[in-house]
């Protein structure tokens, strides 16, 4: 079995997901980054985007809006102000929010809804 790293995905008001993973892909301000066990200690700023956590039993996808990624000693923490697992996202609601954001020309809201939908699609 491949080496694993321990992942904690926490939002400001709750712990969203934690467990062992073989690979974590997240979007930082300077591009997508993949972290595998034994990676060099890292502290980065996250963009809002989908985060993919590859575990032994498949992928966990979450939509993350702003936050940080920090990795040291095979422990990875993803800190986000708002984070949702793909399973928790209500597709219809996100689609409605996307429509609404488009008509109101609210770029931030549009991006949030878009990230949610992409997280669901990537699942």
């Amino acid at each position: 079995m491949a080496a694993e790293l321990h992942v904690e995905l926490v939002a400001a008001d709750r712990s969203v997901w934690s467990g062992e993973a073989t690979l974590v892909i997240a979007r930082t301000t300077s591009g997508d980054i993949g972290v595998m066990p034994g990676h060099q200690p890292l502290l980065g700023v996250l963009e809002s985007g989908p985060v993919t956590i590859r575990t032994a039993d498949g992928n966990v996808v979450a939509a993350v809006h702003g936050g940080f990624i920090s990795f040291a000693d095979d422990k990875l923490s993803l800190l986000a102000e708002v984070a949702e697992l793909a399973d928790e996202i209500d597709v219809k609601r996100a689609e409605r929010a996307l429509e609404r954001a488009k008509s109101a020309a609210d770029a931030a809201a549009e991006r949030r809804a878009d990230v949610r939908l992409r997280a669901v699609a990537g699942h």
Partner: protein, 307 residues
């Protein structure tokens, strides 16, 4: 029924109604403490991870940042005071206000101007009544604060810290809130949020993992960039934690105040019923003696007419 007795009966009825209300409030507050405590616990992982990250940057890089460096000559300090929106919580709000007053006094003695920011209607009313200047205030969420509320508060505060002192910016940021120690103990505390006191951070690190050295971090995009993004989030999360603790303390204080109100009402009902009983007994005694007196007067009168 005698007038005296009627008065007692009426008072007992009104105190009983009050007791029902205070009892209900006590129970509501008690259930909300548990909820508030759960919220504090739920926000802990984020806060501790964030503190760890801040410590990592602070010790792992030599970068200087406006939010971590101490001003040589601090001339202005911001104080954020957390009070409640509603009363009937015993000394909760006034204790927090007192702590803020003491802190303000201390900062003034150190030669700093104090800018006050207030959360909660009680604090706003206190400062408004005394016509003291308040830079900004927020109300309406002290019962169950959300992260968005903390974000709204942190925005202007961080902006004030980053502004130049000459243009009205502040050099220090203090927060006064009521710490939730236990169901029975809540103490108002004042903490300095900014500039970050970094001497404290390595100590915490040692306590957590003795003898461990922080690893050399790779920063993405850069140490400055990470600090820029990290510190506002850190302040927000500290404010959020303070708001949550204050909410839990408020409910605990209200529960205690309402419990003693209920106890007092019970006590009052007891003594009033004793008085009412005595009044009723006195009435009966009086009636008996009136009847006996009347009868014997009648007997005397008939005895006299017989002769």
């Amino acid at each position: 029924m005698g007038a005296q007795l009627r008065v007692y009966k009426r008072r007992i009825k009104s105190v009983t109604a009050t007791k029902k209300i205070t009892k209900a409030m006590e129970m509501i507050a008690a259930s909300r403490i548990v909820k508030a405590q759960r919220q504090v616990a739920a926000s802990t992982p984020y806060a501790s991870e964030l503190t760890r990250a801040v410590t990592a940057v602070a010790t792992g890089s030599t970068t200087k940042h406006a939010l971590t460096t101490e001003a040589e000559n601090p001339v202005r300090a911001a104080v954020l005071l957390v009070t409640s929106d509603r009363g009937l919580a015993g000394g909760y709000s006034s204790n927090a206000i007192k702590a803020a007053e003491a802190l303000t006094e201390r900062l003034r003695a150190e030669g700093k101007d104090v800018v006050t920011y207030i959360v909660g209607r009680k604090g706003v009313a206190y400062y408004g009544f005394r016509e003291r200047p308040v830079a900004e205030s927020w109300t309406g969420f002290t019962d169950s604060p959300a992260y968005a509320d903390a974000k709204r508060i942190a925005g202007p505060l961080i902006e004030a810290v980053q502004r130049d002192t000459a243009e009205g910016g502040v050099d220090e940021l203090h927060i006064v809130f009521t710490e939730f120690a236990s169901m029975m103990t809540q103490t108002p505390v004042d903490n300095r949020l900014l500039p970050l006191s970094l001497e404290k951070a390595p100590v915490e690190q040692e306590a957590g993992a003795p003898g461990r050295i922080m690893p050399l971090f790779d920063f993405e995009p850069s140490a400055e960039g990470v600090l820029d993004a990290l510190l506002p989030r850190y302040v927000e999360s500290r404010i959020y934690n303070a708001l949550l603790q204050a909410a839990a303390s408020e409910h605990a204080a209200r529960r205690r105040a309402m419990k003693s109100a209920t106890d007092n009402a019970e006590e009052l009902i007891k003594s009033l019923s004793r008085l009412a009983n005595a009044a009723r007994q006195a009435e009966i005694t009086q009636e008996i003696s009136e009847i006996v007196g009347g009868a014997s007067a009648l007997a005397d009168a008939t005895a006299g007419s017989d002769n």
